[in-house]
């Protein structure tokens, strides 16, 4: 008996009891579409987090100054500037595991252009800061070492600042006032979007470190910076860089072994990796729950196939009597189960993909349907049909023809 004929018999048998076949398939349909939709939701979340990690810059360390003690009162990180511009230089030049380092002064400042004004996070830093964050300029030019050395009164605007001050106009070449001092806009930064915690990364502006020291923030602690951004040479050297920076700074700050660090090193990538890991676990968990639905669908197939075998005992007897071998009967019922699960799988595939689209459309949740997930769930459906169809099919094939023919 060849495959096509067996397939035809299977379709005919399933067609005879449309309601029953449909309901059995429903289990698989729900299972497969749930698996696909859940994996899409999970990998969508994962992809978004990955995107955000990339937007932060990779292999990033931040050295914060502070945590100083004054009269028994301990201040938090960054409260007292303890880091110097020279510390930043030393980190970049002396440590092999560090690719770039940039001293950063931060503050909120009011920016005015014509009759518009806006308040934004202002960074006074060196050109390396933008390299560390992997942040290109879309209009105009980036900061240069010459700007820093010459204390140029120039600034780079984030998209949000540019939009709020200039709207449709091109800001490059315009003059804005930051804390009353005139600065020429030399460029606009590319759009970065929000951080994982919802902070708008584009609501920012960059000025040369030296200029900011002189005009904006640097009056109280000359030569000191609030933080240093550091990029390690690779993800593998991140840990090493963290240790080396700690050692170097303790040495530079002449701290005795019993003294606490007057700075702290934060590993941002690590925090993000945790978020990514939790997204992965969520994706896995959702997939696992959906797989249980598919498994239950498989049990439905087994149940119906067992009923079908009992109902068709006589038919099996007739087939055996006219010369069907055990494997002919086995294949017949196995293919029937397989057809049920694969058709169900196909319908589930379509519903799952549509459901993913609907989820991202109505709930604004990013979903990602991968070919891998489609193939996986479809073959899983086939596997379920095969697995749960095997026992009933074997039961049919092992029937005694004499008993089967006598079955009422």
């Amino acid at each position: 008996m060849n495959f096509l004929m067996t397939l035809r018999i299977a379709f005919k048998a399933l067609n005879r009891n449309k309601m029953r076949s449909g309901l059995t398939m429903l289990g698989i349909i729900i299972g497969v579409s749930a698996v696909i939709a859940m994996i899409a939701v999970g990998s969508g979340a994962k992809a978004r987090i990955q995107e955000q990690i990339a937007s932060m810059g990779s292999n990033l360390l931040i050295v914060l100054s502070g945590s100083a003690t004054s009269g028994g009162i301990r201040f938090g990180s960054g409260s007292v500037p303890t880091l110097t511009v020279d510390d930043a230089k030393a980190i970049a030049t002396e440590l092999p595991s560090v690719k770039y380092s940039a001293p950063v002064l931060t503050g909120i400042s009011q920016v005015v252009s014509g009759n518009q004004n806006w308040s934004a996070v202002t960074y006074g830093t060196t050109p390396e800061a933008l390299l560390i964050r992997d942040w290109p300029v879309v209009k105009g030019r980036a900061l240069t070492q010459a700007d820093v050395d010459g204390r140029a009164a120039v600034c780079l605007l984030g998209q949000t600042v540019a939009d709020n001050l200039f709207g449709e106009m091109d800001p490059v070449g315009q003059v804005v006032r930051i804390k009353k001092f005139p600065f020429t806009v030399i460029g606009v930064l590319a759009l970065k979007g929000q951080t994982t915690w919802g902070q708008d990364q584009d609501d920012t502006l960059y000025v040369p470190l030296t200029t900011s020291q002189r005009l904006l923030f640097g009056r109280n602690f000359p030569g000191m910076v609030r933080s240093i951004s550091v990029q390690a040479t690779s993800a593998g050297t991140l840990q090493q860089a963290e240790e080396e920076i700690t050692q170097l700074l303790r040495q530079r700050h002449r701290l005795r072994p019993d003294q606490e660090n007057d700075f702290s090193v934060r590993n941002l990538t690590e925090a993000m990796s945790t978020a990514q890991e939790s997204a992965r676990v969520m994706s896995l968990l959702l997939g696992a729950i959906a797989s249980i639905a598919l498994l239950v669908g498989g049990i439905g197939i087994m149940n119906i196939m067992l009923v079908s075998v009992t109902e068709r005992t006589r038919e099996i007897g007739i087939r055996l009597a006219v010369g069907a071998r055990e494997r002919d009967i086995l294949y017949q019922f196995l293919i029937e189960a397989l057809v049920l699960s694969l058709i169900g799988g196909l319908i589930g595939l379509i519903i799952g993909v549509s459901a993913s689209q609907l989820i991202s459309h109505f709930f604004k949740w990013p979903t990602l349907v991968s070919l891998q997930a489609l193939l996986l769930s479809f073959s899983f459906a086939g596997g379920v049909g095969m697995f749960f169809g095997f026992y009933p099919a074997r039961k049919a094939a092992k029937l005694d023809p004499i008993e089967a023919l006598r079955f009422e």
């Binding site: 008996m1 060849n2 087939r319 009597a321 006219v322 010369g323 069907a324 071998r325 055990e326 023919l405």
Partner: protein, 252 residues
């Protein structure tokens, strides 16, 4: 005895059923030879072992002891798959309850045995139509069993038994569910197949009326053959002419 002409030769056939600890002997040593072209009626009360004997002859069951030669080949030691092939190619079955597949047309029912020996679909159709013509059912090949009368259903079953051109037809109470006239018509088909095509027919029945159309009667009792007689058979074709004209069949 001409060995080569023995279609069936069984030697000391024993079949024991095990019901838990208890052994139930159904056949207690049966020896029998049936030559090609014979028309044999096997008779006996229920429990006499005739059904068990038929199941073994039909390769649906295997003997506990003894040997069974079909066309000179020992089939008593064959595997299930080999027996399935024998059933497919050499034996045609006709049952009391017709045993047709419901919701499957007459034609497809007749084609069924050909599915299991990889016959091409064209040959299948051709052979099935030929067999249906042989039993006088041409024109009803697309009817479902439920649309056919009992006699017509049994004729479909006969066509199915014939479609692989077997050397042996085993009919188990083929007239048990039919009225007298329809029974005779079926027997007439068997007689014609036997006399014109030299097909060996073994018919199990408990009705003496029906057994008289066979040329040999083998009677079983308590798992043994107690009588084996040959005689001149009655002719169903003649008896049919002596019957009152048929009433219209209920289902057209």
């Amino acid at each position: 005895m001409n060995f080569m002409n023995d279609l069936i030769r069984v030697e000391h056939l024993v079949k024991i059923y095990y019901l838990g600890e208890i052994q139930v002997p159904a056949l207690k040593g049966v020896d029998l030879c049936i030559q090609s072209g014979e028309f044999v009626a096997i008779m006996g009360a229920s429990g006499s072992g005739k059904s068990t004997f038929m199941n073994i002859l039909g390769c649906l069951d295997r003997p506990s002891q003894g040997r069974y030669f079909l066309e000179g080949t020992d089939v008593s030691g064959m595997t299930k798959d080999e027996l399935a092939q024998i059933r497919n190619k050499k034996i045609g079955f006709v049952f009391q309850s017709f045993n047709l597949l419901n919701r499957t047309t007459a034609l497809e029912n007749v084609e069924l045995p050909l599915f299991y020996n990889n016959t091409s679909s064209r040959t299948r159709h051709h052979r099935a139509m030929e067999a249906l013509t042989g039993v006088g059912l041409i024109g009803r090949q697309h009817h479902l069993p439920s649309q056919l009368s009992g006699g017509q259903q049994q004729r479909v079953a006969v066509a199915r038994a014939l479609v692989n051109r077997p050397s042996l037809i085993l009919a188990d109470e083929p007239t048990g569910n039919l009225d007298t006239r329809t029974s005779l018509e079926i027997i007439d088909i068997f007689q014609k197949l036997n006399q014109q095509s030299q097909i060996t027919i073994i018919l199990v029945t408990h009705e003496q009326e029906i057994a008289r159309y066979a040329s040999r009667q083998v009677i079983f009792r308590d798992g043994k053959i107690i009588q084996d007689l040959s005689f001149e058979p009655r002719q169903a074709a003649y008896d049919l002419t002596q019957m009152p004209p048929p009433t219209e069949e209920a289902i057209p």
